[in-house]
Amino acid sequence: MHPLLKLVIQRLALGFLLLLVVSAVIFLGVEALPGDTAQAILGQSATPQALANLREQMGLNDPPLTRYFDWLGGVMTGDLGKSLTNGADIAQAIGQRLGNTLFLAACAAVISVPLALILGLIAARYAGKWPDKVISAITLTTISLPEFVAAYFVIYLLTQVIPLFQPVAMVFPGMSFGAKLHAVALPVIVLVMVVLAHMMRMTRAAILNVMQSAYIETAELKGVRPMQIIWRHAFPNAIAPIVSVVVLNLAYLVVGVVVVEVVFGYNALGQFLVDHVTKRDLPVVQAVGLVFAGVYIMLNILADVIAIFANPRLRHPK
């Protein structure tokens, strides 16, 4: 077998294993924490008899491992159980909201990735000069802001000082694509702000790192033009680090999305999660947590696989 294929398969298998372990932690780890699901549903005033009945009914008296495998089996077949608070089907609820979350994240990614790469290139090209310093100062500031702080500054600026947008972002089925875009403009701006800084700083570092290699000096001494040096010699070697930067930050979007959705009252998975944490609705929290963790892990695997393909030593073994 081609060693490349072997590495990729290894990486995929490892990712799958990790997902399995994470699912076990989300289920069993949470079960092991002090706290009683039945009590959480019925409240402090519940009678012991009612508690016992509910435990029996929910299968809470089975050993944790049995319940974990029941749950895992459900997850595999798309059955995530029912919400404790309103009895709604969790899989269905997630399905409705996942699309909205992905739409928001995708809009942010489409804007921030090219912008970060361009700004990163500019900062690297003029390292130590004023364009670099300006970009660095701005990104240092935005890195220091939590998402919700950035969000409220943006809201104040763009709804009050310059009234361009609505401070809430509502999307619903049947909305035109353009209307949707307008609705998510503010949350997207906030997400871009937060992710851009990280991504741009890391892109700059990756390119500067490659530009310090001896083979860049060789190219200079061969009389190659600066743009050709970047394009022919730096770029092919910077692909792997840049891709991992991009994907890492897309994974970072996953977290940003949760907070931003709450700020803008955007009806999607992040807000759904926070709502049910507040309500202590454990099955929902576990299911949504698993979805977020799954997306995060898959993005990381993707980064690793691309890095494997970008490595000439692995593509052309001895």
Binding site: V224, P236, N237
Partner: protein
């Protein structure tokens, strides 16, 4: 007289250094150096580290590395001052007229592109010829430089070929645009001695056949004597002496040049073996954990009290692994080691404190062998405290005695390693080893990172201390000149085995085994015509077979 190809007049080069915690500082690296180079000639630039030889070499391409800039003087190539060229002019100069071969070809090739693409890049980008012609040229040079399968060699990626081959490929890359001048910057320094001779011969032949002029930069006078027509000796950014190769080697005028020529001429009389060796290694075999390959195979050697056993070999021969096995850092899988009459535990952690004390070690890189956060006093004082319980004034007195022994005197106790020169650092490491009053010291390439004259000083010190303290040395090195200077007995290692072992006079006298013959004959000798002799001799032998 015809116009010289390269005419450097009163060249001054400066740089800005950024010492941590202090304001940046402007320093001068080259102080007004002048020289000329005729078409088709080879000039050797020689000097120790910090002499400014690479910086001068790169100035012929109007290039300053990492904050280095040319602050004065003129550099004429083919009659025009290249320091006045604009960016476009510089790009034409670099690649068309002057090309460069770096010390580390492995780092200088782009890992993501094939060798062929990189070799012909200048020709194509500068429009010197079309792709077919460029590839034909490259293959011709691959063949001339003795690369395997010249037709297909260019299809490989840099990581797929060996270090010696990469160095030749880089030479081909430099020659491909048919430049007037090639700057060779220590092209064989990173190679093993048996590889170096082949690359050196290939470079010399290529220079002769193409009629290109060259600046050949190296710290090794014996190497440059084989390829250069003229030699310029540099020190601290100033010209010390300039002359024909013959004059510099056979009749140097300046003291500094004389010292460089006569380096490693230490005379050391061989001592006879004693009945009771201090270290006896019997049938030792070892492998690293998780591998299925023996890095040491059935090694047996003895070291006698107050004597020196030199372990010679090239990279990968297992000589440093032997040191790890003796110190117990890598427990052997078979065999026994007897030290001062008692068998040593295989594991370092299981050894008695006296065994640890009497067996000391000195490392190649003195820089990383000393904790940068400890003072010289702490570094030398710790073994005194740890093994002998010395404290306060008694400790201080002993530290000073040791500093005197390594000829460093007062005022060093409170210094940090970063404040010492390379030679001083190695001396402090020697003092730390001596502080334990050892019976034996393992010296692992202790002079390899030092300039020749400094290394000479360290070797003399070691020999001197051996007489006073009666300590035995296990001296690991790849440098045969060092071996000749200090050894009483020699073990030659090759691929994990001792291929030749005995007293110095026996090992260095014929008849030789094949490997020892190759090794000994590959060490550059400081005389004209040595390279031709060896190459002719080898051709004759292989024809004879």
């Amino acid at each position: 007289m015809a116009e010289p190809l390269l005419d450097v007049r009163n060249l001054k080069i400066g740089a800005t250094v950024y010492p941590p915690g202090e304001p940046p500082e402007d320093i001068t690296i080259v102080h007004g150096v002048s020289f000329t180079l005729e078409k088709g000639k080879v000039l050797g630039l020689i000097g120790e580290s910090g002499a400014g030889k690479s910086t001068i070499g790169l100035s012929s391409m109007a290039f300053g590395r990492g904050g280095v800039r040319i602050t004065g003087g003129e550099v004429f190539v083919n009659g025009r001052d290249i320091l006045k060229l604009d960016h476009g002019g510089l790009r034409k100069l670099r690649g068309d007229e002057v090309t460069y071969v770096a010390q580390s070809a492995a780092a200088s090739f782009n890992p993501a592109k094939t060798l062929m693409e990189q070799v012909i890049e200048t020709c194509l980008l500068h429009g010197l010829c079309d792709r077919a012609e460029a590839e034909k040229r490259a293959v011709t040079f691959f063949r001339k430089l003795g690369l395997p399968n010249p037709e297909t060699f260019g299809n490989r990626y840099p990581h797929q070929v060996s270090g010696g081959q990469l160095q030749r490929a880089m030479t081909a890359m430099a020659l491909c645009p048919k430049p007037d001048l090639v700057v060779f910057d220590e092209p064989t320094t990173a190679l093993d001695v048996t590889t170096q001779i082949d690359v050196l011969a290939a470079i010399k032949e290529a220079i002769r056949d193409t009629g290109v002029a060259a600046l050949y930069i190296t710290h090794d006078l014996a190497v440059v004597a084989q390829v250069a027509d003229h030699i310029m000796v540099l020190r601290h950014g100033k010209k010390v002496e300039y002359g024909t190769t013959k004059q510099i080697i056979e009749d140097p005028h300046e003291d500094y040049t004389k010292a460089l020529v006569s380096v490693r001429s230490i005379e050391h009389e061989e001592k006879r073996p004693t009945p009771a060796p201090v270290l006896k290694i019997e049938n030792v075999t070892a492998r690293y954990r998780g591998t299925n390959f023996d890095v040491l195979k059935n090694i047996s050697v003895d070291l006698h009290p107050g004597q020196t056993l030199a372990v010679v070999g090239e990279s990968g021969s297992g000589k440093s692994t032997l040191a790890r096995v003796i110190t117990g850092l890598l427990p052997p899988s078979a065999g026994r080691i007897t030290f001062a009459g008692r068998e040593l535990s295989r594991e370092q952690t299981a050894r008695k404190r006296d065994d640890l004390r009497e067996l000391q070690m000195i490392y190649q890189m003195a820089d990383v062998a000393m904790n940068p956060r400890h003072t010289v006093g702490t570094i030398i004082g710790r073994p005194l405290e740890f093994y002998f319980g010395l404290k306060g004034d008694a400790k201080k007195k002993r530290i000073q005695e040791l500093l005197d022994e390594i000829e460093m005197g007062k005022g060093f106790i409170d210094r940090y390693p970063a404040e010492l020169s390379g030679g001083q650092k190695q001396r402090v490491c020697i003092a730390r080893a001596l502080a334990a009053k050892p019976k034996m010291i393992i010296c692992d390439e202790v002079t390899s990172a030092l300039d020749p004259l400094v290394a000479d000083g360290i070797l003399k010190l070691l020999l001197n201390l051996q007489k006073i303290e009666h300590v035995a040395y296990l001296f690991i090195t790849h440098d045969l000149a060092t071996v000749k200077a200090i050894a009483d007995s020699i073990a030659v290692m090759y691929r994990g085995q001792v291929v030749r072992y005995g007293s110095k006079s026996d090992v260095l006298a014929p008849p030789f085994d094949d490997y020892t013959d190759l090794l000994l004959s590959s060490v550059p000798e400081m005389r004209l015509g040595w390279l031709e002799e060896v190459i002719a001799h080898r051709k004759m032998e292989s024809a004879g077979n």
